[in-house]
Amino acid sequence: MTDVTPTISIDARGISCPGPLTNLIKAYRKAKNGDVIEVLATDPGFKSDVKAWVERTGNELISLTEEGGVIRALIKVTAR
């Protein structure tokens, strides 16, 4: 599952809450169903925020990982 290639990439590293989620939402609004959005973030709140956002908006969280302080979320756009 994690070898899915993103079609949209967002680098929100170094940006604090609520910036990373806002960047994701801006990209999401331009995206279409089937797009895969990758977000890189360092804000510790992003991990729970992105989970909540995906649940609430009905999109699909393919993976959510953290390595070396960088959180990486892969989201499949399904609710446009």
Partner: protein, 155 residues
């Protein structure tokens, strides 16, 4: 791979609910304290991102911060040390100002900022002094009608 704090159970795991979000979000911004202004910015930006209509009623001591010419940010005396730490930390993290957050919120969604006509007049301001981020100068009845089906917080 480093285990994050949230993996160790320190952070909140969101409730996985697919229920409807609130119909609208009202913020009564009345204190004019730095922490209140920042919180209003964070919540408005986040709600707008969720496509929740946001209505902000600016009143009392928050009023001067919604004029073109704004006073310095301030915190209550007993929290001065924390306020200094937090503002310095936010500056080094490059966090947007409360004003930038409100601007972003307005770009993202249906966000309206209403200024209380009574406190504006009581503090001696005229409509010409009002910051363009404000949508209208209104009375409490307008705000209450706007948020009749919304959840409202006071900050």
């Amino acid at each position: 791979m480093r285990r994050s704090l949230s993996d160790q159970g320190y952070f909140y795991h969101p409730i996985h609910s697919s229920g409807d979000l609130m119909k609208g979000f009202g913020i009564v911004l009345y204190t004019g304290r730095a922490d209140s202004l920042i919180l209003a910015g964070v919540l408005a930006q986040t709600a707008a991102g969720y496509d929740i209509p946001v209505r902000i009623f600016v009143t009392s001591f928050a009023t001067p911060y919604f004029m073109k010419d704004k006073p310095e940010l301030r915190a209550p005396k007993e929290f001065e040390d924390l306020a200094q730490r937090m503002m310095a930390g936010m500056a080094s993290m490059g966090v947007d100002s409360w004003y930038e957050m409100l601007k972003t919120a307005k770009e993202l969604g249906d966000v309206k900022i209403f200024l209380c006509s009574m406190t504006m007049e009581a503090l001696g301001y005229s409509k010409e002094q009002v910051d363009p981020i404000v949508d209208d100068v209104v009375g409490a009845a307008t705000f209450l009608a706007e948020v009749s089906e919304s959840q409202v917080v006071f900050v």
